[in-house]
Symmetry: C2
Amino acid sequence: MMMMMWDLFVAQSIRDEDGEGKGKKEKQEYLEEKYPNHPLLPHDLAKKAINYQAANIVSSSIQPLVMLPVLNYIGENVGPEAKIQWVQKQAGKGFAALEKLLKDYAGKYATGDEMSLADVFLAPQIIGLSQRFNFDMSEFPLLSRLNEAYKHVAAIQDAMPEKQPDFPIN
Amino acid sequence: MMMMMWDLFVAQSIRDEDGEGKGKKEKQEYLEEKYPNHPLLPHDLAKKAINYQAANIVSSSIQPLVMLPVLNYIGENVGPEAKIQWVQKQAGKGFAALEKLLKDYAGKYATGDEMSLADVFLAPQIIGLSQRFNFDMSEFPLLSRLNEAYKHVAAIQDAMPEKQPDFPIN
């Protein structure tokens, strides 16, 4: 499983046989069906739905709103301070929803004691926001705990952007 | 299948046994696995991946950027004209990606001659943007053709917001 999570977590782009690049979410869905022996999703339907929900909160309600083109637009047209406030507000709303969603399911990781789809989406979002914006995680105790747990997952640490061969040095 | 698509297309919220509301994308995923006899996804893996991609372009790269909270923010902090330009630019990027993605797969509908997941995401996005913003679809011939096709799908027409019992009259 870790290898597959890796493919997903590290990859900036994967290409299938006909050379078509894919986004992160569809990569996961594609890999999951192409490699059914390495599940990122639990078999239990309700728990699977929680994983979908968590992944989708990140990919539809947080990430698109805090990505660079949006932040640059706000920085240029409203102001640099507004940019930070925007991130705190939008990511804060998403994180609050995730805290509520995961509270009855979280174990060592987001939905139990095994890494699963939810973690694959949560880890880069939480790590990225804390590093790039000194995002204050103190209101989000569950996500803060997951953030700590991710520090001990070698696969996540090895997948950090700065460890990749094409990470820009300057 | 139509009934299920309808559940999905119409629903502002569905609730499972424990009363948890869900977002649109996870509703689809949940319904698909709960009612496997009414597939929204083709069996062919590559075509399925195209459906995932199209759905995700809508749910992660278009919808979050053109939703009301974002547009209100831009309207208030940058200006009303900026709001329209923003929608044209962001939705335009997403629509251009969809044109390219679907060009080798589209039939009567997005990925063939049957309605599928891609259509369930595309229809409300295309219809919503054309109605709310007079969005100029002329650069997007394939999506314009789909938009015409959707006008003849009774289920889509019946699911229009103004046909719902809780549609605000004023």
